[in-house]
Symmetry: C2
Subunit: 302 residues, 2 copies
DNA sequence: GTCATATGTGAGCTAGAGTCACTGATCGAT
DNA sequence: ATCGATCAGTGACTCTAGCTCACATATGAC
């Protein structure tokens, strides 16, 4: 016959009381009232059929049986405490690996990494490139920063940072031929886009209520690029008009290497921080808050 | 800063799941549903900020962090289990010491000890004499069997076995002079009693609606004894009429060494088994039940 | 005696732990 | 390919272990 274990909370109350020599002190350590601890001790007495403490003046002292129990239980709890503390420290000290598409990394995050490191030094951030959202398959990825549209899978926690804005950009030379009042004039240029986002130009055309036939024609004459990076280089080289996330073009727009005379539109996508569910760390939240602040600053300083 | 321990129930669920390799198996061991265990594991993940299990086919497997935790936690729980099992066995194997007044021991319990030992062999009973109810001050006393009247102190659990009956007894020679129909004729004999129970004769007189003055007179002519044992010897020797608990005189009445022609009366006292509070063992209950059975048999076989 | 300090406890409340019933995933067998 | 068996995850709900509160009781210092 297997002897049932007593309730663990009662054992913990016993351990703390035996170690500190006082119900009140144990209650304080466990953040409960002394009454709670007193009841737990009572239930242990009943479980074992023997008193573990005896009254001694105003306080208590261990009985022989109590001492016998304390020897092992004290060490067992010390071990539990140690290993839990150790694991938690290990988790907190491990590098926090943020995965992110190359373009976002190069054009937005890297210029701000220095500030991130100095403002959140305890995060121990590592950055890796990942073009798709399967980065969690690599178990050492702690978070993913990327543009994506709902619905999101159920087994990740997604923190929405800002709505994605896309805009049509061109080199200054090409852009000065365009009429901001008449976006359709733009279709006379080559339309450049990333192959991973073929819906970008149709979204833009739709937002400006432009003719689909005209768009299709212009798209046929245009060109898709595999990466946003090449797309923007192409636009800067004057090859045509590119449709890009405004956030990524931000610095180039400010420096004047690119011009976006036709304004920007909001898409259904969001810049999101993806986190694995149920394992929210404090630094995940800190990082999300820092990103939000930084994004707001980027947009306000425009 | 002190890292808080996770909830212990969650650690137990983790330990069982890691050891058995399955949520369902752990749930079965812990006598809960698999859903309960699943939630506990989830809460552990959140506490540590890292997944301790990863899906592996239909089941789970420990992550690196889970394995790290399992090493210590498994041993700590094994230690807790062992020491609790050990203490419980020690308590159960320790002798069960029953304290009892000498007269009750000699006249009722000792003649039945053989049967007690053979019917409840696992109790490992030891009997010690104790004339008063302070026997619990001796920490090795597990229970006290004694006559006593309520109210009882708050810090003991009292199991009432039977109501005390007292009767007036005399030697056969003396008793044949008495008239059972007229109890007051008894006052012509010397009244014998124990000094610890001076109220016995007045109770008896009151129950028979006898004159108090007559009683006092007879008491003055009578004699008190320090112990019931001497009192009964005196009665058997024909020194007078003794007032005694019927239970203790039972065997002498049956053998004819004493006669009780005036019947018996019930007092407010009870034969009780006193147990220390909050440390009820199974064998205390077994003993109480055995005593009740045996007392019923004693009374029925009259 | 009074006051400060400790533990014990009856009554009542609440958060945490559990159940139920369902979903989705995987794997073996037909 | 399909079906059924097995397993873990979860939303909604329920319930009770464990807590707090307030008071009782006991000890020791002054």
């Amino acid at each position: 016959m297997q002897h049932a274990m007593p309730p663990l909370s009662a054992l913990r109350a016993f351990e703390a009381t035996a170690r500190l020599g006082s119900v009140t002190a144990a209650a304080h350590e466990l953040s409960v009232t002394h009454g709670a601890v007193s009841r737990q001790l009572r239930s242990l007495d009943e479980h074992f059929g023997v008193a573990l403490f005896a009254k001694a003046g105003r306080g208590l002292e261990l009985t022989n049986q109590g001492e016998q129990l304390q020897r092992d239980v004290g060490e067992a709890f010390a071990r539990l405490r140690d290993s839990c503390t150790q694991l938690k420290r290990d988790v907190e000290d491990a590098p926090f690996t943020l995965a992110c598409p190359g373009s976002l990394l190069a054009r937005w995050l890297i210029p701000r990494l220095d500030r991130l490191h100095s403002e959140l030094p305890e995060i121990n951030l590592q950055v890796v490139v990942s073009e798709n959202e399967h980065a969690f398959k690599r178990s050492d990825v702690s978070a993913i920063l990327a543009f994506s549209a709902p619905p999101w899978p159920a087994d990740v926690e997604v923190i929405e940072l800002i709505a994605e804005q896309i805009c049509a950009v061109a080199s200054p030379r090409l852009a000065e031929q365009a009429d901001p009042e008449h976006p359709e004039t733009l279709f006379s240029s080559k339309l450049l886009y990333t192959t991973s986002r073929p819906q970008a130009w149709p979204q833009w055309a739709n937002a400006h209520a432009l003719d689909t036939a005209l768009l299709d024609q212009a798209l046929d004459a245009g060109q898709g690029f595999e990466h946003l990076y090449y797309l923007m280089e192409a636009a800067m080289a004057g090859l045509g008009v590119a449709i890009v996330p405004k956030l990524i073009a931000e610095d180039d727009l400010r420096s004047g290497r690119l011009i976006a005379p036709w304004g920007d539109i909001e898409t259904s996508a969001r810049l999101c921080l993806w986190l694995p569910r149920h394992v929210t760390q404090r630094r995940s939240v800190q990082l999300a808050e820092w990103l939000k602040r930084e994004l707001d600053d980027t947009l306000l300083s425009r």
